[in-house]
Assembly symmetry: C2
Homo-oligomer: 305 residues x 2
């Protein structure tokens, strides 16, 4: 784990195709065939009709891979016939640049803007979100996807509030529009509650959500879990450094206890930084502060020969 | 963290010199100057008059480094004038070979035997301990160090039960004898209790110790902590896979609660495998079993470009 020299960026591009394996494979191949990148995870399903690719690489590698994959998605996906449950505004729907190692959010922002300019050259209007937002409201992706593909396509020209940050003021004929930006690493850590009453999951989700008196870096929603005797609080944590996983866990435990309902299990989706693990290990095992666990205390840190 | 090809061994040799910086430095240098090894930690003090060097490397690197450092220690240390609080039987007192990555305990055992044969050639009698023990009692190092340096020096020739496994049946004139063997990784995880009553620490230590009804892989002792308002349960865990750190932690919590005493902090000494962290993270964050956290779920796993 001694890799001090290299800068590593994570990216999690979302494409509006989750039904046709061949199309997804061809987009994935573009990333796979770009040097200095590694694919971590590919997920797609036909309900959402959306593919989410998680990959990491050098800043140059991630930038090149996102360009190549975007060109392929523009070529293959026609938004005029696209249907799916997940909100979306274009073929290359969202392309985040996330700092992973030895790189700042500012440098990721520069990559996102360069990528946005590239998309603009392809005649795709671009909205900058999260840390790259030029309009404050666009910090939050939900404020960009107002009206979904079909709605925004109509209002982008007429409503000045819907004007893109880069590129033409009209949708690309087949690829629609694109959202890009730098954002902090996001951890999806979902907590299952021992009840079949989805209202309890929804109530607990609300109590920990940033918009309703909860934790500042947490978005949460309650859902049913198909074929299981429990419900889930689905949680996105956008700053594990300030709001560590253990705090999210223990607050859910406390709020669920109000209903006499225990935590029966949890799941982590995708990848997470080692630091997020060490933070919670430190908390539960009560390590004293000058001896907090760091990467250097792990045997694996010394494995490079 | 993708290092599948390489075999890595950990070694933690103990030398009977903790007072003279120059001597310790010269022994450390022998390891430092051996290729394919990295020193993790060097600790020595004059109370124990003992130096403990933690290092890792390829099997060949670790073997060569231990040979070179042993020759230097034989050259520089004279046990006839050695005094110290820690039990010891020789200049090169204990040399464990510990599997760290892609290597079995059997392969570490072969290294230990080869190292023992090398010491025997230097006319140092050798006792094989832990997983390398040929005599079952010698699993436990305490059964080898009976009588300490001064005692064993006298009985090694007269008492057949004290005969060495390798080498001459009499002590080396200045270097005494040596203990070597393969052992599992050991984790020192000490737990501080919120009381100044050292009896409570001793009682709690006893309840979790393998010899008195506690956990099979745990040795523990209660001690005072100089200059602090708490006492410590010092704990060695020789199998974190079967007896994970969280079990050790929670059992101490339960036993201390008998006295109304809380855990006020903990410390980890030396290095530990990432797996030991992930095990406890899984427990406290209740990850469901098919989704237990593995190295591949950590961002750092993808950092090699």
């Amino acid at each position: 784990m001694v890799h001090e020299k290299h800068q590593i960026v994570e990216s999690v591009p979302n494409y509006s195709e989750g039904t046709d394996d061949t199309t997804v494979d061809r987009i994935v191949s573009e990333i796979e065939n770009t040097k200095k990148t590694k694919i971590v995870d590919v997920q797609y399903d036909s309900d959402y009709n959306r593919a989410v690719i998680t990959f990491v690489g050098t800043p140059k590698g991630v930038f090149q891979a996102n360009k190549a994959a975007a060109l392929k998605a523009i070529e293959l996906i026609d938004m005029n016939t696209h249907q799916g449950q997940h909100p979306r505004i274009g073929a290359v729907d969202v392309v985040p640049f996330v700092p992973a190692k030895n790189i700042t959010i500012k440098e990721c922002n520069e990559l996102a803007i360069k990528f946005g300019e590239f998309m603009a050259e392809q005649k795709v209007p671009v909205y900058l979100y999260e840390k790259s937002a030029k309009i404050q409201k666009r910090n939050d992706i939900d404020n960009i996807r107002i009206g979904d593909y079909e709605g925004l396509k109509k209002t982008i020209e007429s409503n000045p509030e819907h004007a893109p940050d880069l590129g033409p003021s009209r949708f690309h004929p087949t690829a629609g529009a694109t959202i890009t930006g730098a954002r902090d690493p996001l951890i999806s850590f979902n907590i299952n509650l021992g009840t079949t009453n989805v209202k309890i999951a929804k109530n607990v989700a609300k109590t920990i959500h940033l918009r309703s008196g909860g934790l500042v870096n947490i978005k949460a929603m309650g859902t049913e879990l198909e074929g299981r005797d429990c419900v889930q609080v689905g949680i996105s944590n956008i700053n594990y450094k300030k709001t560590p996983l253990y705090r999210q866990m223990e607050l859910v435990r406390i709020e669920a206890a109000k209903y006499g309902v225990p935590i029966v299990g949890t799941e982590l989706i995708g990848i997470l930084p080692l630091e997020a693990v060490l933070n919670s290990f430190d908390y539960y095992l009560q390590l004293e502060s000058p001896k907090k666990l760091k990467e250097e205390h792990l045997l694996e840190h010394y494995f490079d020969f």
